[in-house]
Each structure stands twice: as C-alpha cells, then as structure tokens.
C-alpha cells in the first residue's frame, strides 16, 4: 500500500517565478495496483513520481509505504522498496559496465554491498534465465557493454533490472517516450508481462492515452498540480480516448471560466 497525503511541492518558493507543481495531492494505492498517469506538460506527473522516489522532499504532506512513513528518507535509502525506469534510455543502466555487471547491481538492491564477487556462477545463471524472458537474445551477450545496446534493448534491460529484485513499488516515467513505435510496443508488452509476474504497486506516466487505457487497473489524470480524474475497475475498462479528452476539456473549461469570472 502506497499512501500520499496532502503532498504539496513548489519550486522557486517566495520568488516571482513561484511554481506549485503539486497542490495538496492525496491518493491511496492498494498493494499490487497498477495506476496509469496522464496529464498535459507541466501537470506535475514527474514531480509526483519524484516525491514517491524520494528525489524530491515535499514542502508538506507525507508519503507512507506499507504503513512506514518514508517522507524524510533519501532516495537511495528508499530504493530497496522502489524500482524505477526513466524516460532517457541511458538513465537506467551504467553504460561502460557489462550486462551482467548491471544486473549484479540491480540484484543487490537493498542489500549490504560487500567484498563478495559481483558476478558469480550462480548469479550469472539466474541473470541468463531472467534475460531470456525478454526474448531479445541478451542472455547470450552477458559480457557485452551496455553502451553498445540499442535504446529499446537498454530500456528492456532497465525494466528487468527495476523489477526482478522485486521492489514493492515500480515507477515508470514515460519510459517508452524516447523509443520508436515498434520498440515502444515491445517495451509496453514487457512492462505488462513483468508487472503481471512480480505484481509491484505500479505508477506509470504516459502521454499516450490509448496506452493509459489499455494498461493497468486504474487511471488518474493530473492538471496543474492536482489529480482531476481518478477512475478504476469497470469505469476504466469502459472509458475511451474521447471520454478522456472531454474530461480534459471540462477541466480546462472550468479553469477558463474561473479566469473570466476573476477578470
């Protein structure tokens, strides 16, 4: 269970450029629930994920993971519970290390790292069988430097690294946005498979509304630092892109009429 309560986050506080990225956002996400997040540019989606990951410490509000208040924990202290895949395919792996060395780093997530060999025979076998599930032929290239992989392959590897050590929470921030449509489709399929296999509580940001409807059990739409739409179950299953667009227009329309009233 992941609970955010009354999270506010602003940037450049106290200056003319003050920007409220999150305004008292509260949400409860059940264990194993898969939530897709949509919203226009600057709506606060990445900020929300960064607050969960501990990259940002909110101005106010609390983040609770399975009953533990983690609001003040740093990102690396929370990392034992949280897997992340970023938009930039280079961000999730260490390029000059080999595939197996990258996996070793993912494997020791949340464990004390000591002077034991990073890649042992036992671990290598495990890595190979995990890589085989990606169907990218990476299992026969364990000693290849990650820098030589394509963006799609790197993103597939990042996804595996983020999930196979079984974090409680998985954060995906537009992790298919930098890929061409074919590779993006592959990464979406892998996302579905890996999430089904490990069942982490998942938050996935996307700009692709079809993707947001197709994947996950619940959908939220953000606008100007707030969650403005939150649908799940039957309602989400029945929703269409047109419904999302009209919901968005409604939110924007309300904002516009507010402004005319004020003016």
């Amino acid at each position: 269970m992941l609970t955010l309560s009354k999270i506010s986050q602003s940037f450049y506080r106290g200056t003319v450029n003050e920007k409220h990225a999150l305004r008292k956002v509260s949400i409860e996400i059940a264990e194993g629930e898969f939530v897709t997040v949509i919203g226009s540019n600057g709506a606060g989606k990445s900020t929300l994920l960064n607050v969960v990951a501990g990259k940002l410490h909110p101005d106010s509000g609390t983040v609770t993971i399975e009953g533990h208040d983690v609001t003040r924990l740093s990102d690396h202290d929370r990392a034992s519970m949280i897997g992340r895949v970023f938009q930039d395919p280079r961000a999730g792996t260490a390029p000059e290390l080999t595939i197996e060395e990258n996996l070793a780093i993912a494997y020791t997530r949340g464990k004390a790292r000591g002077l034991r060999r990073g890649v042992t025979k036992h671990r290598r076998d495990l890595f190979a069988s995990e890589l085989a599930t990606l169907e990218q032929g990476l299992e026969s290239r364990l000693k290849t430097r990650v820098a030589t992989l394509s963006g799609g392959q790197r993103q597939a590897l990042s996804l595996l690294m983020a999930t196979f050590s079984q974090p409680k929470i998985l954060l995906l921030d537009e992790h298919t946005a930098a890929l061409d449509p074919q590779r993006a489709a592959l990464v979406v399929r892998l996302t579905r498979e890996l999430v089904e296999r490990h069942r982490p509580t998942t938050l996935m940001v996307t700009h692709n509304m079809e993707q947001a409807l197709e994947l996950g059990d619940r959908l939220i739409m953000m606008h100007d630092g707030e969650i403005v739409v939150d649908v799940s179950g039957e309602r989400k299953a029945r929703a269409t892109v047109a419904d999302l667009l009209s919901a968005f227009e409604e939110v924007r329309g309300a904002e516009l009429s507010d402004r005319t009233l004020l003016g």
Binding site: H76, A79, F86, T93, E96, L97
Partner: protein, 321 residues
C-alpha cells in the same frame, strides 16, 4: 634507464590511485599533491623514530586515506565543487606536512628502511630491484582489479558512470565517493612512503605537480595500451607510469633543464588530451579516443539528468513538427 623504470614502477602505485578517482569516479582529485607528501613525511618521521619499516609504510597509506576522506566530505557533505575541495585539502596539507616533519625535510640516511636490504645487497639500480618494485605494483594492481569486480566495487563504478542509476538501486553515491577518494589517496600516500625511502629523504615539495604525472600516466597509458576492460585499463596505467618516467629521462638526457620538467609534463598531458580529438591523428596513429561516459560531458550526474531529459523532449518535439 633502470632508474627511470624503478621510479616508474614506484609511481605506478600513485597512478593507480589517480586512475580510481579520475576514471572510475570521474572526479579530478587534486588532493594528490598533498597526500603524497603526507604519506612520505609520515613514513619518514616514523622511520627516524625506529618504527618498523612495514608499519611506517602502512601509516603512509593510512594518512593518505584520511586526506581523501576530508576531500570527500568537503565535496559531498559541504557541497563544494570537486576541484576546489581537492585544492583546499591540498593547501591545508602543506601546513600539516610541515608540522609532521617539524621542518621542510627529513633525511633517512642512516635509518633502516624498506630499501636498506636492497641497498646493502647492491640491488638498487639493477633489474632485480626493478622486478621487485614491479611485483609491488602488480600486487596493488591485482587488488584494485579484484576490488572493482566485487559488489562494492561495482557500486563504485556505477557511481562514477551514472549517479541517477546508482541511487535508484540504493547506492549511496556520497559514501562511494568518499570511499573511492580514501582508497585513491591511500595509494598515493603509500607511493609517497615508498618514494621517500627510495630517494632517502622526505621533503615538503616532493608532491608538487604530482597530479599531472598521475594524469599523464593514466591518459598516455590508456591511449597507447587501451582500456577495453578494468584489467586492461589498470595495466595500461601502470605501464603509462613507466613510460612517463622514461620520457622524462630521455628529455633530461638530451639536455633539458630539470626545472623545465613540470612544463614538459603539463604539455605532455595537454597533447595526450587534445591529440585523440583530431580525427586525422586518430586515423594515422590508431590512438584510442579518451573514454566517454553516458552524458554529453561524460558521466551522467544527477544534476545533468534533468537537462538531458529536456533536450530529449525538445528533440522529440522538433522531430514531430
């Protein structure tokens, strides 16, 4: 020739330390100039006070480690720019080194040191002593290669290459940097202890400009001998150190003033950094281009990541329109 080789192998220990920070952590660490002297001074003073030579040499390592920790804390906890943090420690160490020695130098003429048995057996300046120094450098090299393949070592490599990734897997990048700087300067201090025993004295200026010698060994060694993997890269650094001392020897033999050596070293490093960027040179000589990490400037740091994503988004939008 033999003397230059001997020196090159002793200084290889220092160069391997510089390799840890400069290449693995992507941190140009200027502490080196100070910590080398600290290692030499500490060992010399202990030796004069009849401490066991092995213990005195180990103390050189320990003092170097402490210097590295200080730079590491200034940088990570004090948020001081890495170059500046190194310079601050280096300058501070100058006074401390004078205090350690109680003056500007400590002679080791009639003191028993690690070199005494070699000198008495008349091995110094022969290939036998070069072989012994080679074995020492090889042992340090093996330890580094082994360490970098452990879980802890992989965490350190990840820290230098991609902080965003490292932190997302629970690696405290601050702690890794402090540890790396400690190990690196420990090796530099160890080299200082060995060199002061070899030359028979420690003095306050023995570390001046040393970072340039270290960088020269790393850059020239890897340009010539490659850096395909950790083992290859570390061997290249050790060989680079020997080459560097040989080059200096040759420059002196053709009549250059020893006082000009610092300028020569600096020019050598500039050349080694600039030449591989010229594609003509690269094609003709087969020189290997300097290693480049993930980000636009090399390694991807946590701060740069935000910019990188923006660039990507701008690029994507430009393509869509």
């Amino acid at each position: 020739m033999i003397v230059a080789t001997e020196l090159g192998l002793l200084y290889a220990v220092m160069a391997l330390g510089v390799y840890l920070t400069f290449r693995i952590l992507d941190f140009p660490d200027l502490t080196v100039d100070g910590s080398f002297t600290s290692g030499g001074a500490t060992a010399a003073v202990l030796l004069v006070n009849n401490v066991n030579p092995f213990l005195a040499t180990a103390a050189g390592f320990g003092v170097g480690c402490i210097a590295g920790v200080i730079t590491g804390i200034l940088h990570t906890k004090g948020h001081i720019n890495g170059l500046l943090a190194g310079i601050l420690t280096q300058i501070g160490l100058y006074s401390i080194n004078l205090r350690i020695m109680g003056g500007a130098n400590v002679p080791l003429l009639r003191t028993s040191t690690l070199m005494t048995p070699l000198r008495e057996a008349k091995l110094l300046g022969t290939w036998s002593s070069a072989a012994i120094f080679g074995a020492v450098a090889l042992a340090v090299l093996a330890l580094i290669v082994w360490f970098l393949h452990t879980d802890l070592g992989l965490a350190m490599q990840a820290t230098g290459e991609n902080e965003v990734m490292a932190r997302s897997f629970g690696i405290s990048t601050d702690r890794q940097k402090i540890l790396g700087l400690a190990l690196s300067n420990g090796l530099v201090g160890l080299a200082g202890a060995l060199v002061s025993q070899y030359q028979g004295f420690a003095d306050i200026s023995m570390g001046i400009g040393l970072i340039v010698a270290g960088l020269a060994s790393v850059i020239i060694g890897q340009a010539i001998f490659g850096s395909r993997n950790i083992l290859n890269a570390a061997v290249a650094v050790a060989l680079g150190s020997v080459l560097y001392r040989l080059a200096i020897q040759v420059a002196m033999d053709v009549g250059l003033d020893p006082n000009d050596m610092k300028l020569m070293s600096a020019l050598l490093v500039v050349l080694a950094l600039v030449l591989p960027q010229w594609s003509v040179v690269r094609r003709i000589s087969g020189l290997r281009a300097a290693y480049r990490g993930a980000g636009p400037q090399g390694a991807l740091t946590a701060d740069e990541y935000i910019d990188d994503v923006d660039d990507l988004e701008i690029a994507a939008k430009a393509k869509g329109e």
